[in-house]
Each structure stands twice: as C-alpha cells, then as structure tokens.
Symmetry: C2
DNA sequence: TTAATTTACTAAAACGTTTTCGTCAATAGA
DNA sequence: TCTATTGACGAAAACGTTTTAGTAAATTAA
C-alpha cells in the first residue's frame, strides 16, 4: 500500500506538505503541488479512507435505511429506482452508500449504533415503519437525516405528491363517465392516507357517493392480497365499473382475478395502477397509472442530505410532482 | 463518542485490557471481562470501525460490483434478489456491503482503486462485462474475488446451471409435441452460450431440426427488443409453435406482440420464460419457466468470499441448480 | 537599515484501535 | 528453598491521515 509517506520521501518534502498539496491548501507553492500530484499518480496513490476519517470525522459514507422486515425492499421496482438514484447522486457527490440494518454479525445493534459504527455522515430513510422506536432513535439523534415520503419536524423530507396522484387518477375515471369507482389502497400509512384524501376529494368534486365497501385495504406490492380485494369488489351486488389499484405490480393480482371471471379490461372493467414503473408500460393493456418520479426523489434527498452534512441547511419539505400516464386500461363509461 | 479509553477509566484498567476483554482474548480474568463488558454496554459503547480497520487491515466490508452502464442492475428483479441475498449473508457474517463504481465524486477511479480506497476485504462480481480491462485488473489483483455466472482460473465462482435450464425447458416443449421451437436468446455472453448449448442438446435428442431463423438474438430484460424478435418469428413463413424467451420480464414484450396479432397463449402459441421471478407467477397465463435460485447464488458467493478472506479457501466452482416451474403457458401440440 | 509581514514549509500530536513485549505477582516443580 | 512457569495486566508503538503551531527565509514596509 502506497502512503503519503512514500510520496513525501520520493519528493523530498514532509508528509504534511504532501497532504496539503493533495488537498488544495493554498500555502504550498505551485511547483511543489505539481510535483506531489505527479508522483502521487505515478505511484498510483490512493488515500486511505479510514485514516482520513479517523482525523476528520467525515466518512463520505451515507447510510440508507430501507425497509426492515417486509423484505420487499430491494425487489420492489419503485424503491429500487429510488435506491439507484440515491446511489448515483451520492457517488456524484463523492459518497458511498451503506445499508443500515440492525443485525450485523451475531451482534444485535440498533440502527443508530450501526450508523455510529460505520461513521455514516448522514442517512436517507424510506419505506420503513416510522413509528419504530429504533427509527425514532435515529431520527432524533445527532446524525443528519432526510426522510422520504414522511416528514418530521425540523428535518428535511422529500415527499411524492400522493394526494395529487390519486386525485388525478380518480378525476380521470370520473371524467370518463365512471360513477362506481372503487379504490383498493395499501396499508394505512401516511402515504395511503394522502391517497385516500385525494380520492375522496375527486369523488366529492364530481358529486359521487362512494359506498364504504368500495374502499378496501390490501397490501402494497402483494398480488395475492390485491387479488382477494378485487374478488371482494367483484362479488358485490353492485360491483364497481372502475378500480384503482395500490400499485402497478400488485395490480397484476387483480388482473388475474378479473380475467379468470371472464371479464375483460377495459371493456368490462376499467383499472389504473400507481407508480408508473417499467412494468406498467409493457403490460397489456398498457396500464393507466400515476408516475412517481423516483429518480428525482432519490436525487433530491441526497442533495438535501449533503447540504445538511456539509453546511447549514434549513429543514425543508420538498414535494416532488408526478405525472399522469395514460394507457389503455380505462374506457369511457356510458351512464345508462 | 464513547471510546475504549472511557471504559478503561471507568473500570480502572488499561485500554489494552479493555480491548482484549472485548475481543475475547483468553488472558483476561473472567471478572475483568465481565466488568468491562458491563460498563461497555452501560456507556453504550460502539467500536470505531475505522480505527479498528487502520490497525487490523480488515474493514469487514465487502464490495459488490454489479453492472456498470447498462443500468438495469438494481431494477432487474433477478439481480435484485441476488443482491438482497448477498447483503443478508454478508450481514450475517458481520460484513457491510459497498457498491463498487468507477466514478466517485468528480474523481475518476478504477474499480480496483475504489476497492482499495474503501479497503474492501473482498468483492463479489456479477453481471458485468468480464472483458472490461478494469474488471480484469480487479480480478487479477490481490483483492479476494468471487464471480457469479462467470469463471476465472484460480478464483471461486458461483454459476447457475444455465445449460440444464434451457435444456429442460426445450425438452419439455418437445415432450409436449412441439416440433417448431424457437429460442429468443440474450446477448452472446457466456451464460447465453450455455443456454444455447442446452437448447441444441434437447433439439438433438428429440431429433428436431431447427432452422437458423429460429435462433434469434435480443437483449435481456428489454421488452422492446424482445417484442421485435417475436415479430420476426411470427412473420416467418413457417412460424414456430413454441417460443423460449430470454427471461420472464422481457417475455412481456413478446406477449404484447402475440396478443396484438390476435393470437392467444397457449392456444395458438406456447411460451416459456427464464428466471422464475415473482412476476412469472402472477402473470396470466402463469408462465412456464426455469427458476434460478438467486438466494442460494447470493449466499454461496458470500460464503466462498468470506472463506477466501478469512482462511485458506481453495478456488472452487460451485454450480447452483434451478428448478422447472410449470405454468399454463404451454399446451400439448398435436402433430398433424 | 531594521522591523514587520508573507511565503513555503515541517514537527509533532492526534484520531481510536490493536498488539507486541514487558512486568510483577502468584503458583508449581525440583 | 530456589527456580520455572503461569496468569493477569499495562506501556507504548503503530496504522495513515490531518492540522495546529511553529520556523526560517524571503520579501515588504518604515
């Protein structure tokens, strides 16, 4: 391993000078800087992140806390997209990312402990149970934190405009003439509440009375659970003519149920999803859905986090807007 | 930050003793060990990974090198599954994972340099271009490496049984009476070659002559490209009665083409995928496919890597077997 | 000319561990 | 009883950086 000392010997200057030359201090003469940099690259020098961290207390590492137990974290396309975007933006800023978990080796440690252990400069939190005591401990600690789709006081957060999304989808269905619109929503998180609010607002604006049976809970990203919810809706005496699904992926569960009953989309029943992931575009029929800008969500959260780490950033709640994606899964409904 | 010194003061012993007590050296009396451990947890002590690394040269960090440019790395369900499994097995062994990239901050650095910078104890490589000079540099370096689905001499590798997979799928189609079987395969990587070999072997065993047009190249995980390949097959004078697709996800592209031509699966045409990801199970009709044990692939690669890091492991090529997943996408074909 | 400032550099401490080599007492062996 | 061994611990160096507080020479100011 080639160290600063090797360079200092090769150049005939002190290690301190090498360090300063490499880090752009202005008290080193241009010729020395030049010499040091050249020999550094000649020797293929790489600074040792650990040694640097030990002195500076900056690891250039940001922690990522995504889903704990539900397991669908890395395989959930929407979150994969966010993760990917977080990774890229972090790297662009000179940071690596570390997954924060709470069982490393045989030793149980809390999320916060894991962060301290790895000296994370900050953490991006998404898709976890925000009531979890360990998450709260982390949030309230001195580690800079940015949350996605959930907001704490005094902390920056990036939220997708969930209310707008479901509002627009529901409005669209109403505009197409549907009056019996059901909404299969996910578990009752904050995100879900926003979406329900958006749905309700649309219903109200179009003067549509929605029977309570039309609002049914299922599990995000879970085709089975959504299939059952769909079945329940289709079994109603007055089944809906349009269904809004919790997300694009789980919609496929509903689709299965619909097709197996000999119904067709969109002739017999109109549907829309949520997320606007790749999958939604290649399904047949192409799914009408709401695109969430995962890329922007990821980038913005890293941007805010780096601000929080490096400077004095003021806590801010950033709303990332989405986009209506029209497919072929909704048809005009003629009122009788 | 609470350090070993704090504990040593609290206990009235030297830092050396604390370190030894905490790390289970046998030269410390049981009472002292007990005392040290108790005060450590009382003070909520966490060792500083960087300081430890500096002395021991072990970061307890393993690098993960997945896809560079193609971008479909984290959003590719199959690789997500491997990544997830790698992460879990790593954590179970006391390691964190770090994504290896070659542009961190504004500074361009090679994969190897990134590994050195972060002091990765070892690296798992998958789904990259194994001819890439930077990848080769890493592979040939002194950093322990395990590769997935590609083998180098003197290095451990974990490979999925690709030949067997496509052999079994093709055989199944033949057994169902199909004689015009096409294979849309991915880019010509080693994996693809194995799959083609498996396919050919089955054709040979069943005495089926496959015209060259029946073997067509498309891009993995790319619905568009696969759709075009499908169109080409259906445009043939003698179109196939069964098509094997490169993977479950991209099959959807083919499905779109098939449905748009008014054909139905499996009545008019039989299909099968590859991977056996979640998606394949919820599609309608359920896809006949080959399940690759991503979980095992991930776990085994970490197991071998940890062996390579910690002890003297002998380089070994581990074959992970898959499983035939029968769906409803193939029908018996009556020969005329 | 002398004093003050600037320029370009260095010595050395520090970050939090681990580990080698002692040391000193207590115990065992002869 | 005297020596050899064992047990339990500590001092201090080391890992590779960064950074503070210098210092000596060169330059400028008075």
């Amino acid at each position: 391993m080639v160290t600063i000392k090797d360079i200092s010997k090769e150049c005939g200057v002190s290690p301190a000078t090498v360090s300063k030359a490499l880090n752009g201090y202005d008290e080193i003469s241009p010729e020395t800087v030049e010499l040091v940099k050249r020999t550094a690259s000649k020797l293929n020098y790489m600074p040792n992140a650990a040694a640097r961290l030990l002195k500076t207390n900056r690891s250039h590492n940001i922690g990522v806390l995504f889903v704990d137990d539900t397991m669908s974290g890395l395989t959930h396309e929407f979150f994969s997209l966010i993760l990917n975007s977080v990774k890229e933006e972090a790297e662009a800023n000179g940071y690596d990312i570390t997954f924060i978990s709470n069982n490393i080796g045989r030793q149980k440690m809390s999320f916060l402990q894991h962060c301290k252990y790895r000296n994370c400069d900050g953490v991006v939190i998404a898709s976890v149970d925000f009531q979890n005591p360990e998450v709260l401990e982390l949030v309230r600690s001195d580690v800079p934190v940015v949350t996605i789709d959930y907001s704490f006081d005094n902390l920056s957060s990036i939220v997708s405009d969930n209310q707008e999304g479901s509002y627009r989808l529901a409005s669209y269905l109403a505009e197409q003439g549907h009056r019996r619109i059901a909404f299969i929503h996910g578990e009752r998180t904050l995100v879900t509440q926003k979406r329900i609010r958006g749905f309700n607002r649309a219903m109200q604006e179009y003067g549509i009375k929605t029977p309570p049976e039309y609002l049914v809970e299922a599990r995000y990203h879970n085709a089975d659970s959504v299939r059952k919810a769909t079945a329940a809706l289709l079994d109603l005496e007055e089944p809906p003519t349009a269904i809004m699904f919790p997300d694009d992926f789980s919609f496929i569960g509903g689709q299965t149920e619909i097709l197996e009953r000999g119904l067709s989309i969109p002739d017999d029943i109109s549907v829309c999803g949520y997320d606007g992931i790749n999958l939604s575009k290649i399904l047949n029929p192409q799914l009408t859905t709401w695109y969430q800008n995962a890329d922007k969500i990821g980038k913005e959260s890293v941007r805010k986090l780096v601000e929080a780490i490096e400077g004095t950033s003021v806590a801010e709640q950033i709303m990332v807007s989405g986009e209506f994606l029209s497919g072929n899964s909704v048809r005009k409904w003629e009122s009788k």
